[in-house]
Symmetry: C2
Subunit: 157 residues, 2 copies
Protein backbone atom coordinates (compact mmCIF):
# COMPACT_ATOMS: atom_id res chain seq x y z
CA UNK A 1 0.00 0.00 0.00
CA UNK A 2 2.83 2.37 0.85
CA UNK A 3 4.20 1.83 -2.66
CA UNK A 4 1.14 3.57 -4.10
CA UNK A 5 1.93 6.78 -2.24
CA UNK A 6 5.50 6.99 -1.01
CA UNK A 7 8.42 8.42 -2.92
CA UNK A 8 11.87 9.46 -1.77
CA UNK A 9 10.87 12.39 0.41
CA UNK A 10 7.15 12.23 1.08
CA UNK A 11 3.98 11.38 -0.75
CA UNK A 12 3.11 11.47 -4.43
CA UNK A 13 0.54 14.14 -5.22
CA UNK A 14 -2.83 13.21 -6.71
CA UNK A 15 -2.85 9.51 -5.98
CA UNK A 16 -6.10 7.79 -5.11
CA UNK A 17 -6.00 4.14 -4.07
CA UNK A 18 -9.08 2.06 -3.33
CA UNK A 19 -8.73 -1.40 -1.84
CA UNK A 20 -11.66 -3.78 -1.95
CA UNK A 21 -12.16 -6.18 0.95
CA UNK A 22 -14.42 -9.09 0.16
CA UNK A 23 -13.84 -11.41 3.11
CA UNK A 24 -16.10 -11.93 6.15
CA UNK A 25 -17.56 -10.59 8.35
CA UNK A 26 -18.97 -7.60 6.46
CA UNK A 27 -18.14 -7.70 2.76
CA UNK A 28 -17.97 -5.76 0.59
CA UNK A 29 -15.95 -2.94 2.06
CA UNK A 30 -14.00 -0.39 0.10
CA UNK A 31 -11.22 1.68 1.63
CA UNK A 32 -10.23 4.78 -0.27
CA UNK A 33 -7.04 6.73 0.34
CA UNK A 34 -6.14 10.06 -1.18
CA UNK A 35 -2.62 11.38 -1.00
CA UNK A 36 -3.61 15.03 -0.79
CA UNK A 37 -5.23 14.54 2.64
CA UNK A 38 -3.35 11.44 3.79
CA UNK A 39 -1.53 11.58 7.14
CA UNK A 40 0.31 9.03 9.27
CA UNK A 41 1.57 6.95 6.35
CA UNK A 42 5.22 6.12 6.91
CA UNK A 43 7.51 3.76 5.00
CA UNK A 44 7.14 0.97 7.57
CA UNK A 45 4.51 -1.69 6.93
CA UNK A 46 3.04 -1.19 10.35
CA UNK A 47 1.80 2.31 9.61
CA UNK A 48 0.01 1.08 6.47
CA UNK A 49 -1.54 -1.79 8.42
CA UNK A 50 -2.71 0.57 11.17
CA UNK A 51 -4.48 2.88 8.69
CA UNK A 52 -6.20 -0.07 7.04
CA UNK A 53 -7.14 -1.62 10.36
CA UNK A 54 -8.68 1.62 11.58
CA UNK A 55 -10.62 2.00 8.34
CA UNK A 56 -12.02 -1.52 8.46
CA UNK A 57 -13.00 -1.05 12.11
CA UNK A 58 -14.92 2.15 11.36
CA UNK A 59 -18.70 1.61 11.44
CA UNK A 60 -20.14 1.94 7.94
CA UNK A 61 -23.81 2.64 7.59
CA UNK A 62 -23.88 1.76 3.90
CA UNK A 63 -22.62 3.13 0.63
CA UNK A 64 -21.56 6.44 2.18
CA UNK A 65 -17.88 7.26 2.64
CA UNK A 66 -16.93 7.58 6.32
CA UNK A 67 -13.58 9.11 7.25
CA UNK A 68 -11.53 6.89 9.56
CA UNK A 69 -8.29 8.91 9.61
CA UNK A 70 -7.21 11.92 7.50
CA UNK A 71 -7.30 10.95 3.84
CA UNK A 72 -8.76 7.49 4.51
CA UNK A 73 -12.42 6.63 4.03
CA UNK A 74 -14.45 3.45 4.16
CA UNK A 75 -17.84 2.50 2.71
CA UNK A 76 -19.89 -0.60 2.06
CA UNK A 77 -19.30 -0.67 -1.68
CA UNK A 78 -18.42 -3.41 -4.15
CA UNK A 79 -16.55 -3.45 -7.43
CA UNK A 80 -19.55 -2.43 -9.54
CA UNK A 81 -20.10 0.66 -7.38
CA UNK A 82 -16.52 1.78 -7.79
CA UNK A 83 -16.25 1.62 -11.56
CA UNK A 84 -16.63 4.97 -13.21
CA UNK A 85 -14.81 6.14 -16.31
CA UNK A 86 -12.21 4.22 -18.28
CA UNK A 87 -10.58 1.17 -16.72
CA UNK A 88 -7.10 -0.21 -17.39
CA UNK A 89 -6.73 -3.78 -16.14
CA UNK A 90 -3.30 -5.07 -15.13
CA UNK A 91 -2.89 -8.58 -16.52
CA UNK A 92 0.12 -10.74 -17.12
CA UNK A 93 -1.04 -11.49 -20.66
CA UNK A 94 -1.78 -7.86 -21.48
CA UNK A 95 0.02 -5.46 -23.82
CA UNK A 96 3.28 -3.96 -22.64
CA UNK A 97 2.56 -0.96 -20.42
CA UNK A 98 5.53 0.85 -21.97
CA UNK A 99 3.82 0.88 -25.36
CA UNK A 100 0.08 0.72 -24.65
CA UNK A 101 -2.31 3.59 -25.26
CA UNK A 102 -3.45 4.76 -21.83
CA UNK A 103 -6.20 7.37 -21.48
CA UNK A 104 -5.84 10.14 -18.90
CA UNK A 105 -7.86 9.70 -15.73
CA UNK A 106 -8.17 5.93 -16.04
CA UNK A 107 -8.73 3.65 -13.07
CA UNK A 108 -6.01 0.99 -12.89
CA UNK A 109 -7.35 -2.32 -11.57
CA UNK A 110 -5.15 -4.96 -10.01
CA UNK A 111 -6.65 -8.27 -8.91
CA UNK A 112 -5.41 -10.44 -6.09
CA UNK A 113 -3.71 -13.82 -6.52
CA UNK A 114 -7.09 -15.46 -7.14
CA UNK A 115 -7.89 -13.32 -10.16
CA UNK A 116 -11.35 -12.00 -10.95
CA UNK A 117 -14.64 -13.89 -10.76
CA UNK A 118 -16.65 -14.22 -14.00
CA UNK A 119 -19.05 -11.57 -12.69
CA UNK A 120 -16.20 -9.18 -11.86
CA UNK A 121 -14.64 -9.88 -15.24
CA UNK A 122 -17.86 -8.98 -17.00
CA UNK A 123 -18.31 -5.74 -15.07
CA UNK A 124 -14.72 -4.75 -15.70
CA UNK A 125 -14.84 -5.64 -19.39
CA UNK A 126 -17.67 -3.22 -20.03
CA UNK A 127 -15.37 -0.33 -19.07
CA UNK A 128 -11.96 -1.66 -19.96
CA UNK A 129 -10.04 0.39 -22.52
CA UNK A 130 -6.71 -1.44 -22.13
CA UNK A 131 -5.26 -4.60 -20.63
CA UNK A 132 -1.61 -4.09 -19.82
CA UNK A 133 1.29 -6.13 -18.54
CA UNK A 134 4.04 -4.58 -16.43
CA UNK A 135 6.80 -6.88 -17.62
CA UNK A 136 7.82 -10.48 -18.17
CA UNK A 137 8.11 -11.43 -14.47
CA UNK A 138 5.16 -11.88 -12.09
CA UNK A 139 5.52 -9.45 -9.22
CA UNK A 140 4.01 -8.88 -5.81
CA UNK A 141 1.16 -6.39 -5.63
CA UNK A 142 3.19 -3.60 -4.04
CA UNK A 143 5.92 -4.06 -6.67
CA UNK A 144 3.25 -3.81 -9.39
CA UNK A 145 2.26 -0.39 -8.10
CA UNK A 146 5.88 0.78 -8.02
CA UNK A 147 6.49 -0.38 -11.60
CA UNK A 148 3.19 1.05 -12.84
CA UNK A 149 4.07 4.44 -11.33
CA UNK A 150 7.48 4.32 -13.03
CA UNK A 151 5.91 3.83 -16.43
CA UNK A 152 3.29 6.51 -15.85
CA UNK A 153 6.00 8.90 -14.55
CA UNK A 154 7.94 8.30 -17.77
CA UNK A 155 4.93 9.34 -19.84
CA UNK A 156 4.45 12.53 -17.86
CA UNK A 157 8.13 13.51 -17.94
Amino acid sequence: MGSAFLVSHGLRPDVELTTLHLGPPSAPKAVRMRSQELKHLNPDERSSAMLLEKALATPTTGPVWQTSTPGVQVARLGLADLLDGPVVVLREDGDDVAKATLPPGALYVLGDHLGFTPDEDERLSARTVARVSLGPVSLQADQCLTVLHNHLDRRRA
Copy 2:
Protein backbone atom coordinates in the same frame (compact mmCIF):
# COMPACT_ATOMS: atom_id res chain seq x y z
CA MET B 1 15.83 -5.61 0.80
CA GLY B 2 12.99 -7.97 0.02
CA SER B 3 12.42 -6.12 -3.23
CA ALA B 4 15.82 -7.32 -4.50
CA PHE B 5 14.76 -10.96 -4.19
CA LEU B 6 11.02 -11.44 -3.98
CA VAL B 7 8.66 -11.95 -6.88
CA SER B 8 5.11 -13.20 -7.02
CA HIS B 9 5.71 -16.78 -5.93
CA GLY B 10 9.16 -17.02 -4.43
CA LEU B 11 12.64 -15.67 -5.03
CA ARG B 12 14.32 -14.43 -8.18
CA PRO B 13 17.14 -16.72 -9.32
CA ASP B 14 20.71 -15.46 -9.53
CA VAL B 15 20.39 -12.29 -7.49
CA GLU B 16 23.27 -11.17 -5.34
CA LEU B 17 22.79 -8.17 -3.07
CA THR B 18 25.51 -6.65 -0.92
CA THR B 19 24.68 -3.99 1.64
CA LEU B 20 27.45 -1.88 3.08
CA HIS B 21 27.17 -0.74 6.70
CA LEU B 22 29.43 2.14 7.58
CA GLY B 23 28.10 3.24 10.96
CA PRO B 24 29.59 2.49 14.39
CA PRO B 25 30.57 0.36 16.22
CA SER B 26 32.51 -1.77 13.74
CA ALA B 27 32.50 -0.26 10.25
CA PRO B 28 32.93 -1.24 7.52
CA LYS B 29 30.76 -4.33 7.35
CA ALA B 30 29.44 -5.88 4.19
CA VAL B 31 26.47 -8.25 4.17
CA ARG B 32 26.08 -10.37 1.06
CA MET B 33 22.92 -12.28 0.18
CA ARG B 34 22.54 -14.75 -2.67
CA SER B 35 19.13 -15.88 -3.78
CA GLN B 36 20.22 -19.40 -4.71
CA GLU B 37 20.96 -20.31 -1.08
CA LEU B 38 18.75 -17.77 0.68
CA LYS B 39 16.22 -19.05 3.22
CA HIS B 40 13.83 -17.41 5.68
CA LEU B 41 13.18 -14.34 3.56
CA ASN B 42 9.46 -13.61 3.55
CA PRO B 43 7.57 -10.60 2.19
CA ASP B 44 7.23 -8.99 5.62
CA GLU B 45 9.82 -6.42 6.63
CA ARG B 46 10.50 -8.22 9.87
CA SER B 47 12.03 -11.25 8.16
CA SER B 48 14.42 -9.01 6.21
CA ALA B 49 15.35 -7.14 9.38
CA MET B 50 15.98 -10.42 11.23
CA LEU B 51 18.36 -11.70 8.55
CA LEU B 52 20.29 -8.44 8.55
CA GLU B 53 20.38 -8.27 12.33
CA LYS B 54 21.76 -11.80 12.56
CA ALA B 55 24.39 -11.04 9.94
CA LEU B 56 25.56 -7.88 11.68
CA ALA B 57 25.70 -9.71 15.01
CA THR B 58 27.88 -12.49 13.58
CA PRO B 59 31.51 -12.16 14.73
CA THR B 60 33.72 -11.23 11.78
CA THR B 61 37.43 -11.92 12.04
CA GLY B 62 38.27 -9.72 9.07
CA PRO B 63 37.83 -9.71 5.32
CA VAL B 64 36.62 -13.32 5.24
CA TRP B 65 32.96 -14.08 4.51
CA GLN B 66 31.23 -15.71 7.49
CA THR B 67 27.84 -17.33 6.98
CA SER B 68 25.21 -16.06 9.43
CA THR B 69 22.13 -17.80 7.97
CA PRO B 70 21.69 -19.76 4.71
CA GLY B 71 22.56 -17.49 1.80
CA VAL B 72 23.68 -14.61 4.03
CA GLN B 73 27.31 -13.79 4.75
CA VAL B 74 29.11 -10.98 6.50
CA ALA B 75 32.69 -9.70 6.33
CA ARG B 76 34.70 -6.67 7.36
CA LEU B 77 34.97 -5.19 3.90
CA GLY B 78 34.57 -1.69 2.48
CA LEU B 79 33.47 -0.35 -0.87
CA ALA B 80 36.91 -0.65 -2.48
CA ASP B 81 37.10 -4.35 -1.56
CA LEU B 82 33.74 -5.07 -3.15
CA LEU B 83 34.32 -3.49 -6.55
CA ASP B 84 35.23 -6.01 -9.19
CA GLY B 85 34.20 -5.87 -12.83
CA PRO B 86 32.04 -3.22 -14.49
CA VAL B 87 29.96 -0.90 -12.31
CA VAL B 88 26.67 0.78 -13.18
CA VAL B 89 25.87 3.63 -10.82
CA LEU B 90 22.24 4.61 -10.20
CA ARG B 91 22.03 8.39 -10.23
CA GLU B 92 19.13 10.76 -10.64
CA ASP B 93 21.04 12.72 -13.29
CA GLY B 94 22.08 9.61 -15.22
CA ASP B 95 20.98 8.34 -18.62
CA ASP B 96 17.59 6.67 -18.86
CA VAL B 97 17.93 3.02 -17.81
CA ALA B 98 15.46 2.05 -20.55
CA LYS B 99 17.90 3.22 -23.23
CA ALA B 100 21.37 2.94 -21.68
CA THR B 101 23.98 0.39 -22.77
CA LEU B 102 24.35 -2.02 -19.85
CA PRO B 103 27.07 -4.68 -19.89
CA PRO B 104 26.25 -8.19 -18.68
CA GLY B 105 27.48 -9.07 -15.21
CA ALA B 106 27.68 -5.47 -14.02
CA LEU B 107 27.46 -4.49 -10.37
CA TYR B 108 24.65 -1.95 -9.83
CA VAL B 109 25.51 0.55 -7.12
CA LEU B 110 22.88 2.51 -5.21
CA GLY B 111 23.97 5.09 -2.64
CA ASP B 112 22.03 6.13 0.43
CA HIS B 113 20.32 9.48 0.93
CA LEU B 114 23.68 11.09 1.77
CA GLY B 115 25.23 10.20 -1.59
CA PHE B 116 28.84 9.13 -2.02
CA THR B 117 31.91 10.68 -0.40
CA PRO B 118 34.58 12.10 -2.74
CA ASP B 119 36.73 9.04 -2.02
CA GLU B 120 33.88 6.63 -2.81
CA ASP B 121 33.09 8.61 -5.95
CA GLU B 122 36.68 8.29 -7.13
CA ARG B 123 36.82 4.55 -6.51
CA LEU B 124 33.50 4.03 -8.26
CA SER B 125 34.42 6.23 -11.23
CA ALA B 126 37.41 4.08 -12.06
CA ARG B 127 35.10 1.14 -12.79
CA THR B 128 31.92 2.88 -13.88
CA VAL B 129 30.71 2.00 -17.36
CA ALA B 130 27.30 3.70 -17.08
CA ARG B 131 25.43 6.14 -14.90
CA VAL B 132 21.70 5.53 -15.16
CA SER B 133 18.50 7.07 -13.90
CA LEU B 134 15.41 4.96 -13.20
CA GLY B 135 12.89 7.65 -14.06
CA PRO B 136 11.86 11.23 -13.44
CA VAL B 137 10.71 10.75 -9.81
CA SER B 138 13.02 10.16 -6.82
CA LEU B 139 12.13 6.85 -5.23
CA GLN B 140 12.85 4.98 -2.02
CA ALA B 141 15.71 2.48 -2.17
CA ASP B 142 13.48 -0.62 -2.25
CA GLN B 143 11.40 0.92 -5.04
CA CYS B 144 14.62 1.59 -6.99
CA LEU B 145 15.45 -2.12 -6.87
CA THR B 146 11.96 -3.07 -8.07
CA VAL B 147 12.12 -0.62 -10.98
CA LEU B 148 15.68 -1.64 -11.88
CA HIS B 149 14.64 -5.30 -11.99
CA ASN B 150 11.70 -4.41 -14.24
CA HIS B 151 13.97 -2.75 -16.78
CA LEU B 152 16.52 -5.58 -16.66
CA ASP B 153 13.68 -8.15 -16.98
CA ARG B 154 12.51 -6.33 -20.10
CA ARG B 155 15.97 -6.63 -21.67
CA ARG B 156 16.14 -10.34 -20.96
CA ALA B 157 12.62 -11.09 -22.22
